[in-house]
Subunit: 401 residues, 2 copies
């Protein structure tokens, strides 16, 4: 793939508008009875209409056989090599609660959990305590003090929290304390490199003080930490593509991701109708929009085939509000597949379509896994979407003389 | 892609012949009324006949979304990574007038332009002065002398010239003086690295002396320079593939490119009939031929859909002279798309076909964008054409034990 240094030189500011509609967990697998995927089962006249005027294909967010997390799935769509720009679990959790991380901050994902008298984990999520309870406990843990480091303990949701370490000469090269299974004691946090020794001591000291403060507070009488990480340096979308990008995403984590790549986060609550109305209100001020539709993934992870079909149909019904804006380039795809039959993210490539005046449409007449397979883009890496969208918006000059 | 060091080891000399027919700007976009591209609209029985006996596909010269200049488009077809082997604007211009550049020479593309009393650019091309006028002015600028450097000012066409700097310790890492827009003064040429400071001074001194010599010669009363560059070191086709390659190209720039990769340039004027007759005369002496057909690109850039269709039909009529030679491997493709509707080079993938006794033909019965989409090669990077052609010519040994 062509590097950002070239794209930066070739990119050009113009009035044309690019809209990315990202349908989370879009791809699926056939229902055992009908032989049709969720997308193939849904009534979706608007998506099909777009497909008929688009160039279609199937994207691999990371690579064949690789199941993407939400961060790599989105980063790839935004043009970043998801292997090079790795976002750790801790940083993801911090992004998810709109915490601004400084470049040297170390973030870890925390769970409140339950241990028995012998310190053996009996419940990794402390029976999913309430977020209110979580907030109270995080305030308690904020009393922990370790010399030479500033610590923040921030509640997320239910049993989840974020630990942030700020100080001199810290390193994120640490193992997890979370053994990710029951019947074991939390692990001692190991330094994975010599320069992480001091940070490992600090983290272990945090865990030890936390254990003291939580004593007797069963079910939340212990903490588990994992995914120590630092935010990667990511060149912003406006730096690379000279775009003025904006995001309309209902969930904090996607807003955090959008901010990480330099998008302005616009209002827009959980309903797609609200999101598209926000798009209308802000359409004049930006030239790139990322709209994130969540419920397809949530229903897929629930393993609820019918509900995922309905989520697609709900989205489709809202689309005329998007189509009437007639953006110069409209991309519709997903960050990964979440087949309801698997009830989890999966490695299957994701349907893709791009509509523009200049897209050389193919013969695809329906937006589905099978139909996109013979689309004009064929099967291709998601990281190629951004240059393609820029080209179709006539925002990319030619390469070389 | 497999590296040259492997190809070099696997390549084998044999009597089989490979012919590449490169149709410049071949790919197109549908006509708004008929829904058919230029290639789909043309009567082309010979191209279709080849397609039926070929393996077909669509190539990406640089990558999805990237619009190739002529140099990267051709280099990719000849097997060179067009991002790694970058050819600057100045070098391209020099290649275009058959100037032989030494490895350390620096070439820049020059424009004669018009500036007003305040030195502001009012016409970037000096009203496209005649080539004769240009030649006279270049002779005048040849009087410019700067210590420590040998300078050549060579006319190209209309307002275009090439400046070549030859001397010790020069560097091509220079900015442009051409601001590429009106209403500004020419920029001072900047050194983009410390070791380019001396060269920047020399270039600025050239511009300053040129301004003096051109005073009162409006419309051509100033010069603009851009694309300072040095010819890249390119391993030759005969080094990598053990071929004896030859080029039959009507335009100087393509002859220059062919020379850069080590091809012998054979005679052959602008008509395809002449080019194919040259091919016949020299067929015994080489085993690889690059035939360059230009007018499809020229008519596409004119935005003349009908004329591009006619150019394809003209080519098709001439093809029996090629087919009667029955080369062991015949590749027909283009260096990029030039849709008449866009009237410029574009990023769209380019139809490709390879005919050989060993090619495992697919079901494609027509040479067109739509038909090639479902060809046996699918969509693939142009850099893979050379190994494929070598294999089909039975000139490539197996890889590994």
């Amino acid at each position: 793939m062509i590097g950002f240094e070239h794209i930066r030189r070739m990119s050009r500011i113009s009035p044309s508008k690019i809209v990315f509609l990202i349908i989370d967990g879009l791809g699926g697998l056939p229902h055992p009875e009908t032989g049709k995927t969720e997308l193939e089962s849904a009534r979706k006249p608007n998506l099909n209409h777009i497909a008929r005027n688009s160039i279609c294909g199937l994207i691999d967010p990371v690579g064949p056989g690789i199941t993407p997390g939400s961060a790599p799935g989105h980063l790839a769509i935004f043009g970043y090599d998801p292997v090079q720009y790795h976002i750790g679990r801790g940083v993801m959790e911090a992004l998810g609660i709109d915490v601004e991380l400084k470049p040297d901050d170390i973030a870890a994902r925390g769970n409140f959990c339950t241990v028995d008298d012998k310190g053996i984990i009996t419940h990794r999520r402390a029976g999913r305590i309430s977020t209110d309870k979580n907030t109270v406990l995080c305030r308690l843990l904020s009393h922990i003090a370790v010399e030479g480091v500033e610590m923040s303990v921030l509640p997320v949701k239910e049993h989840r929290f974020v630990l942030i370490l700020r100080g001199e000469a810290l390193s994120p090269e640490l193992g997890d304390s979370d053994p990710q299974q029951l019947g074991q004691a939390p692990k001692k946090i190991e330094a994975l490199s010599p320069q992480a020794r001091k940070t490992a001591e600090i983290a272990n000291e945090f865990v030890s003080q936390a254990a003291g403060l939580l004593q007797g507070k069963s079910p939340a009488n212990m903490v588990l930490l994992r995914g120590f990480s630092r935010r990667p340096h990511v060149p912003s979308i406006s730096e690379i593509y000279k775009l003025k990008p904006a995001a309309i995403a209902a969930y904090p984590m996607y807003r955090g991701l959008a901010r990480l790549v330099g998008m302005k986060v616009l209002p827009g609550d959980e309903s797609i109708t609200e999101q598209l109305s926000s798009l209308h209100r802000h359409y004049a001020k930006h030239d790139f929009f990322f709209i994130h539709f969540k419920s397809t993934d949530a229903r897929g992870e629930d393993g609820d085939f019918e509900a995922k079909v309905q989520a697609i149909e709900e989205l489709d019904k809202a689309l005329p509000a998007l189509l009437e804006l007639d953006p110069d380039v409209l991309v519709v795809t997903g960050d990964h597949s979440t087949p309801a039959t698997l009830a989890m993210h999966s490695w299957h490539p994701v349907p893709f379509m791009l509509k523009s005046k200049w897209c050389r449409p193919d013969n695809v007449a329906e937006f589905s896994e099978q139909a996109c397979l013979v689309g004009g883009m064929g099967r291709f890496p998601a990281t190629e979407i951004m240059p393609l969208a820029m080209a179709n918006a006539l925002k990319l000059d030619k390469f070389g003389a």
